[in-house]
Amino acid sequence: MGEQLPRTVLDSLNLGLHKALVDDPLTILLGEDLLDPYGGAFKVTRGLSSAFPDRVLTTPISEAGITGIAGGMALRGLHPVVEIMFGDFVTLISDQVINHIAKFNSMYNGAATAPVLIRTPMGGRRGYGPTHSQTLEKFFLGVPGLTVLAPFHLLDDDPLGAPGGLLYEAILTSDSPVLFVENKLQYLLKLLTPADLVEYELDTDRSSAFYTLRMKSAPAAMITLATYGYMAHLALEALHRLAYEYEIFCELLVPTRLAPFELQPLFDSVARTGRLLTVEEGTFSLGWGAEVLARTAEALGAGLRQARRLAAKEGVIPVAPELEAACLPGVDDIIARVREMV
């Protein structure tokens, strides 16, 4: 491992975990069904228990317990990485995250740190139904003391790929707890290489953790799209089709740090385009897009001429493929919404 560049998001995350285990003897992985040959429900930890048998702990089905235990481990100097098998189960860990792990540093007046990293796959489109398909990170955005990250499927100039690099950095350098939001379909995405991006301009803002993409040599963008995670893949496809099929040019803004957040690159983009569409796979009301829109309106005032949000419908996510597709925002929905706005 380590010689070849990762091909997919899954490879990249696996490499990131592997490198963290190699470089940091304090890193310990905990979660359900992590051991080889299974290697985790979505295979992110494949091979790791064979390479590091005493550093990968398979656990009972006790999400609250293992998260709380990770908090105790972190208070005593370890760097635990917890896998929650399905993102839906973050409800089970909420007390441990919100009332314990995220509070330790500030309630102990800075005298303790709890660098727990919790990884979990959100997202639908796999037919897993109401309790295994949701995108629930919005409930954890805005929790004081908690960082929320979501990787972008880019190779970037990181030998681990951007997703694995983001994960590795968070495990090794974060003093605060991190919720690392993955996505089931994103795992399978091929990392975008320079060859894949030959038609695009890519700007990277490291300090605010934003990527900006637009068609190369295109006319001025008319609208800003903001999204993250797997939806960034769908939005990029929409951006491409809008340019070629409708001559509507967009800028796509993709943050990888959702909280605490800094939106300057987004404000700069909207200052150019005057329009903002946020896209998220979580439900519509009171979500990430609402906050981003509010902040943009506060920052730009009348400079924000038009703003809309696209998100999942507010109901359970059905198993039936056509019902599930109707519930979650897709490429055609993004295109339709942009065409309404421009």
Binding site: G65, G71, M73, L78, D95, Q96, H100, Y108, A112
Partner: protein, 294 residues
Amino acid sequence: MHTDMELFRRLYRIRRFETVLLDHFKSGIFPGTTHASLGQEANAVGVLAHLQEGDVVVSNHRSHGHFLAYGGDPQALFAELMGKPSGVCGGVGGSQHLHWRNFYSSGVQGGTVAMAAGMALAEKRAGNGAIVVDFMGDGTLGEGIVYECLNMISLWQLPVLIVLEHNHIAQTTPAKLTIAGSVSQRFETFGIPTAELDSSDILEIFPLAGTLISQVRVESAPRALIIHTERLGAHSKGDDTRPPEELVNLWQFRDPIAIHATRLPEAERARIVDEVDADIQRAFEAALGAKGGV
């Protein structure tokens, strides 16, 4: 050395701290709420007298006795409860959220057992022989995460002594309305050897705790100690709904300070009381005189 006099001093120090705290609560110098350790002093002293350098203590909402028995500074604790920058946690944590050296407390029931388990896992991996002592109350037995953690504590043979201070009352609700079946079996069923004691006597608690802590340390494995105890004060400030005659009875027969005081020569006892009273008064006044707070 844990002489009778030294143990009395430690017990009475907690008692005096809590008494001064409660006496001044109405004056408004302490914001929020507090949970006093009255009646449970011998648990804190009897268990924590066996700690060694590097050991870790996890406590709960009723933590003052544990903190003081661990060696915490009464002035810093008073200041914390007054919300002063000179407090244990700068006035941020208050009564229920203390951290000093290897002492940690938190106010949400159940999560402290998880903290203790994770800390014991870290200490076990570090291989330095340190152990974790986790204080919980019978009210906490209602939280599901406790059983998730008891399972992993046993599965991974974590060096933790769980001390269940079973005072048979959760806030205002008697245990008989909330706890089914056997309490000791709740630990034993996970394979955690469990000792049970019905006593407020330091000379009974101290040796049993010593034996168990030694087992946890030598075997690097968990133990549970259930101490049937009595909360002689209210849950927090003034929310005691028990009949007065019940409390009179408890004070007469289950007061750990009174029980142990009889073993000391009167002059020695009076000397210790005077010294502790003066120490606690100095701590209180110094805390009060520091900047900030209400």
